[in-house]
C-alpha cells in the first residue's frame, strides 16, 4: 500500500545571538531580542526533517512537506526565511503583539493552535531546548496539549515504512542508559545536537526560498484571544532579575616548570585539597 505523504512541522525559534551579551529588559524582565538569529539548536530538527523526507522518496516525488513554524515578534520572520533557504518548503509565522512574555504554557497553547490550524500534521519536530528560554518544556507541553505521544531528546531517528503507514524509532541517551523509543504517527519529536550535521543554505536554496510561501497568522487566525497568551496567559511570573556580576579572572601564570606545584598551592589556599 502507498504511504500517505508526510506533513512535518518544524518548530524554530528566533533567539538572541549568544555570541553577544544577552540582557533581560523591562518591568517584566523579558529577553532583549534585538540581535536575534534562528536558534542553532533548531537547525537540528530541521535537518532531521529534511533527511526523513529524503529517505522516503523526496518532497517532489512523494509529496512530503516540511513546514517551518515560528512564534515571535515581526523580526522572527527572519528565522523562517533562513529555514526556507536551508530547505523547508513552507513557512508559518505566528506574530501578534499580545504574544510577548509568553511562558512555556502559553507558548505551547499557541503553537498547538497553529499545528491544528495547519491540520493533518504527522510529525511536529522541535529542538532540545531554546537557547534563551532553555526549559525544554515546550515539546512535552505541546504533546500534552495535542494529546500526542512524545519522542523527545532523540539522538537517532528513523521512520520505518510499514506499508500504508510509518512508525518512529528513536534512540534517547540518558546519563546512565540509552533507550530505544517507538511510536506511531502523529507524534511530537525533539532532537539533540547529536543527531546530525545541519546543512547550510546554498545559493540555489537562497534563490528558491524567495518563491516559497510564508504565511503570517495573527491570534485571531488561530482562534485565540489576547488573554490566552503573553503575560496574561502565562502561568509563571518573573518577579526579579539580577545580572550576575561578570566573572573576572584571577592569577594567570605561564608554566616555567613548576606550574603544577603552584596550581596545588592555589588549591590549598582555597582549601580545595
Amino acid at each position: 500500500m502507498e504511504n500517505k505523504a508526510l506533513k512535518i512541522v518544524v518548530l524554530i525559534k528566533h533567539v538572541p545571538d549568544a555570541e553577544f551579551d544577552r540582557h533581560l529588559t523591562g518591568p517584566s524582565h523579558t529577553v532583549d531580542r534585538s540581535t536575534s538569529i534562528l536558534s542553532e539548536l533548531d537547525e537540528y530538527p530541521l535537518e532531521a526533517a529534511l533527511q526523513l523526507v529524503e529517505a522516503h522518496g523526496g518532497a517532489k516525488k512523494a509529496g512530503h512537506q516540511v513546514i517551518a513554524v515560528t512564534m515571535g515578534p515581526d523580526q522572527a520572520s527572519a528565522a523562517v526565511k533562513k529555514a526556507l533557504q536551508i530547505g523547508a518548503h513552507e513557512g508559518v509565522h505566528l506574530s501578534d503583539e499580545a504574544l510577548a512574555g509568553s511562558d512555556a504554557a502559553a507558548t505551547s497553547l499557541a503553537l498547538a493552535a497553529v499545528v491544528k490550524q495547519i491540520g493533518d500534521v504527522d510529525l511536529v519536530m522541535a529542538g532540545m531546548a531554546s537557547t534563551d528560554g532553555e526549559t525544554s518544556l515546550v515539546p512535552a507541553q505541546l504533546a500534552e496539549r495535542l494529546q500526542l505521544p512524545q519522542v523527545t531528546f532523540a539522538s537517532e531517528l528513523e521512520l520505518q515504512d510499514e506499508g500504508g503507514t510509518y512508525r518512529i524509532r528513536a534512540r534517547r541517551d540518558g546519563d546512565t542508559h540509552s533507550d530505544t523509543i517507538e511510536s506511531a504517527l502523529p507524534a511530537v519529536v525533539s532532537v539533540t545536537d547529536q543527531i546530525n550535521e545541519p546543512r547550510y543554505p546554498n545559493f540555489k536554496g537562497i534563490m528558491a526560498a524567495k518563491k516559497k510561501p510564508l504565511t503570517t497568522f495573527s491570534l485571531a487566525d488561530i482562534g485565540l484571544e489576547t488573554a490566552d497568551v503573553g503575560f496574561d496567559g502565562s502561568w509563571t511570573r518573573v518577579e526579579s532579575a539580577a545580572a550576575r556580576p561578570p566573572r573576572s579572572h584571577g592569577t594567570i601564570i605561564t608554566d616555567e616548570g613548576d606550574a603544577g606545584k603552584q596550581l596545588v598551592d592555589f588549591l590549598e589556599q582555597q582549601k580545595l585539597v
Binding site: E19, H23, L24, H29, L41, D103, A104, A105, E134, T135, S136, L137, A140, Q141, A143, E144, Q147, L148, P149, Q150, V151, T152, F153, I168, A170, R172, G174, D175, T176, H177, S178, D179, T180, I181, E182, S183, T192, S234, W235, T236, V238, E239, A241, A242, A243, R244, R247, H249, T251, I252, T254, D255, A259, G260, K261, L263, V264, F266, L267, Q270
Partner: protein, 319 residues
Amino acid sequence: MATVLVFIDNPGDQLAKANQELLTLAAAAGEPAVALNGPLHDSVEATMAEYGVHHIYRPAVEELDDYLVAPKAAYLAAAAGQAQPAAVLLDNTFEGKEIAGRLGIKLGSGVVTDVTAVSGSGSGLTATKSVLAGGYTVESTVSTGIPVLTVKPNTVAPSPAGAATEPEKTVIEVDAASQPAARITGVEERPASGRPALADAGIIVSGGRGTNGDFGPIEALADELGAAVGASRAATDAGWIEHSAQVGQTGQTVSPQLYVSAGISGAIQQKAGMQTAKVIVAVNKDEDSPVFEIADFGVVGDLFEVLPQATEEIRKRRS
C-alpha cells in the same frame, strides 16, 4: 499544614542524595508526601519516614516504565488529585522536566525548571534559577495553579525532620495503556565509571580537544581529587569519551566547588555549562584562550606537563 508532593522515580534500595534534598525542601515548605514510582524498599521507606513523609502514594500498575513520560505524568496528576498538594517538586533530569511539563498542563499549573533555591511555604513558593547561560539570576513565582518545580541537585543540605513519621500508603489507579505515549522497547545500560556523577560532583576535571584523545592525565588528577570527569563537545564528538561527560549548553550544566578545565578553549557553549562553578582553574597552551577570562587560576602551559605534576604534588603533600 499544606502538603508538598515530591515525585520519586525508582529509588532502588537507597534514596539518592538529590531525592533527600527534595524531601528537605518539601519539609521546609510544608508537609512532605511522596508519589513513588517503582518498588518501595524498607530502607527507602525508613529514610522517607526520617524526612517526615506523612503519605506515600504508589501506582496500581507496574508498567509506567515501559512508556516515555506520559503515563507517569498521568499517575502524578492522579496522586495530586488525592493529595491536594500546595506544590509539587521533581528532580531536574530530562524526564523530571518533561513529567513536570505534562503535569503542569493537566493541572493548569505553572512550571519552573532548573530551580537552584526555593523559599516561602505552601503555594506561595518563590523559585530562584539562573538564565541566559548563567548571565542572570531570576526569582519566579507561579501565578496560576500550584507551583510545579524541578529542582537541581545541591540546592540544600539534606536534613532529616525532627521526628520520624509513619507514612500512610495509598494506591493510585492509573490506566497507562490509554495515555498517548511512545513505548520504550529497549534499554541499554552503560557501564558505570565508578567516579562521582557529573551532575552533583563537588569537583570536576574536564578535558577538551587539547587532550588529543588521551584522557589519562585528566582521569589521574580527577581520581586524586575524588572528582568527576567532564569534557568539551569537541572531545565527546571525537568519541574520546562518552557523550554523558559533556559539559555545556547541550551537555550538563554544573556548579561544582572546583572546575578544572584542561585543553578546552572556553567557547560560549562550554562556558554556559560551567561558569557558575565556585572556583575555576584552567590549563591551556594558548594564552589568548577565552577560558582564561573566567579562570580564578590559569596556567598557560601544556596539560601533559602541568596536570601530572599537580597530581604527583597532591599525592606527595598528602603522604
